[in-house]
Every structure is written in structure tokens, then in C-alpha cells.
């Protein structure tokens, strides 16, 4: 599967960099990466930019990942875009809720390229 434009949403610059690094090693070195520090930033960016994959953290200021997923699934422009949740939080019940809300995959931090390759390819 090829994802040309990938949006990475995380309030930590370090985390965004690690996510990008892992995605590149996992087979997405040629993708174009876009970044946002929270859900609001992501929605703002998506008004101007179409993406093929959204990777988001959960715990973020202004708008968390759970709210972002709901908004993306309610918007016809982003309803079908795959969403990968990457978080240090989470348990079985929460993950079930996120999947119901529209998350395509959920991966825990610390991230590894292998874990990303497994879910995305």
C-alpha cells in the first residue's frame, strides 16, 4: 500500500520525528510528510491539503486524538482516509471505542518500524 501524503499529529516534536523515522524505515521513505501539533492544527491543515493517511496521538492539548477521529469521520472529505492511532495510553476497552469511532489501527509507543510495517502493509 502506498501513502503519498501522510499527516502526523502529535504535540511532541520528538514523537512526530520518531513516527516519521519509523514510517520511512517501514517502507514509506518516499511519502510527503505533513505535521500538526494537535487536532485543531490537523483540521486546519486538512482544509488545504489532502492526505492519504493520518497518524495521530491521543493525548494532546486543544483537541485530543479521540475528538479528531470523530470530526474526521463526520467530514465527507476525510471519512475514508485511514487513521493510525499511536499512543502511550490505551487499554482494550479504550481501543474498542476508538475503533468504533473510526480508528483503522492502533499501535502503542514505543514505536518500532516493524510494528508499523505490520499494520500498514
Amino acid at each position: 500500500m502506498a501513502y503519498h501524503d501522510i499527516l502526523v499529529v502529535d504535540d511532541s516534536e520528538t514523537s512526530r520525528m520518531i513516527i516519521k523515522r519509523c514510517l520511512e524505515i517501514a517502507g514509506f521513505a518516499d511519502s510527503v510528510y505533513h505535521e500538526a501539533a494537535d487536532g485543531l492544527g490537523a483540521l486546519s491543515l486538512l482544509k488545504e491539503q489532502q492526505v492519504d493517511l493520518i497518524v495521530t496521538d491521543l493525548k494532546m492539548p486543544k483537541m485530543d486524538g479521540g475528538t479528531l477521529i470523530q470530526k474526521l469521520r463526520n467530514d465527507p472529505r476525510t471519512r475514508e482516509v485511514p487513521i493510525l492511532v499511536v499512543s502511550s495510553m490505551g487499554n482494550d476497552a479504550r481501543e474498542q471505542e476508538l475503533r468504533k469511532a473510526g480508528a483503522s489501527w492502533i499501535v502503542h509507543k514505543p514505536l518500532s518500524p516493524e510494528a508499523l510495517a505490520e499494520v500498514l502493509q
Binding site: S12, E13, T14, S15, M17, I18, K59, S87, S88, M89, G90, N91, D92, A93, R94, H108, K109, P110, L111, S112
Partner: protein, 146 residues
């Protein structure tokens, strides 16, 4: 799973995957030249605190490895963000390891602490020591009712 095992696995995963630093159990004893103290607290399903005490050399290695650049080129806010994210990941992994995947848990945002005296924690304290490629660092864990 004991606290020691849950912390040990979380530390090895976080340092290994994020910073490519191999960590093994270290000899207990005073940790020299602690340059950074970070902590986070958890409130559910038990209350407690996790603190990371990093010597200067260990802090530098972790941050340089994560960013892949020389220490001198890094701004303070990027160094802080890196260390806070390390503890955030370590804390989440500890909670999953200790309480299990089926348990809901709540952790605070990690914070930089001026020094050890500013840590406010209650409960039984565990002092765990680790060896990061020759440098000893310490994790302190308080769990109320453990």
C-alpha cells in the same frame, strides 16, 4: 508482574526503541552526576509516581541518539521535549505492563523537576537501577497500597 519487572521491561523498550540505547539491570548505589530529574504521576487504578534520574552522560546519549545530531546543536526546548516524551512512553508502557492491557489507567503529563527534593510522592518507594551502556541511572517508583 512485579513493579520491578514492569519498570524494567518499560525502560528497556523505551530506551531501546526510541534512543537505540541498550539497557540492562544496574548495580544499586548512588547515581553520580544526576543532571535531570523527570516525573509523572498516575491516579488510576492506583495512585503513584514514577521518577527518572538521569546522569549528564546518559541524558546526552539519549537525546543525541533520538535526534541523530550533536548535543551542541540542540535547543533546550528540543532536549526537554525529548526527555519528556521518553518518560511519557516509559510511563505508559509501565502502566500496561503492571496493571494489564484490560485495565483503564490515567497518567499525568510528565514534567521536569528542579531536583529530587522537589518530588512529591507517597507510598512505598522502589529504587531501581539500570545500566545504559556503562552509565548507571535510576528509576524511583512510588505506588500507594502496593
Amino acid at each position: 508482574v512485579t513493579v520491578d519487572e514492569a519498570v524494567g521491561a518499560a525502560v528497556r523498550d523505551a530506551f531501546g526503541e526510541m534512543a537505540f540505547v541498550d539497557v540492562v539491570d544496574g548495580e544499586p548505589g548512588p547515581v553520580s552526576d544526576v543532571a535531570q530529574v523527570l516525573s509523572l504521576s498516575f491516579s488510576d487504578p492506583a495512585r503513584g509516581t514514577l521518577a527518572l534520574m538521569l546522569p549528564r552522560e546518559c541524558k546526552k546519549t539519549v537525546v543525541e541518539n533520538v535526534y541523530g545530531v550533536n548535543w551542541d546543536s540542540l535547543a533546550t526546548n528540543r532536549i526537554d521535549d525529548c526527555l519528556l516524551e521518553l518518560l511519557n512512553v516509559l510511563g505508559g508502557a509501565f502502566m500496561r505492563n503492571y496493571f494489564g492491557r484490560e485495565t483503564e489507567f490515567e497518567i499525568s503529563l510528565p514534567e521536569l523537576v528542579f531536583d529530587e527534593a522537589h518530588l512529591s510522592a507517597r507510598g512505598e518507594r522502589k529504587d531501581l537501577f539500570f545500566d545504559a551502556e556503562g552509565v548507571i541511572f535510576q528509576v524511583k517508583v512510588w505506588v500507594e497500597g502496593a
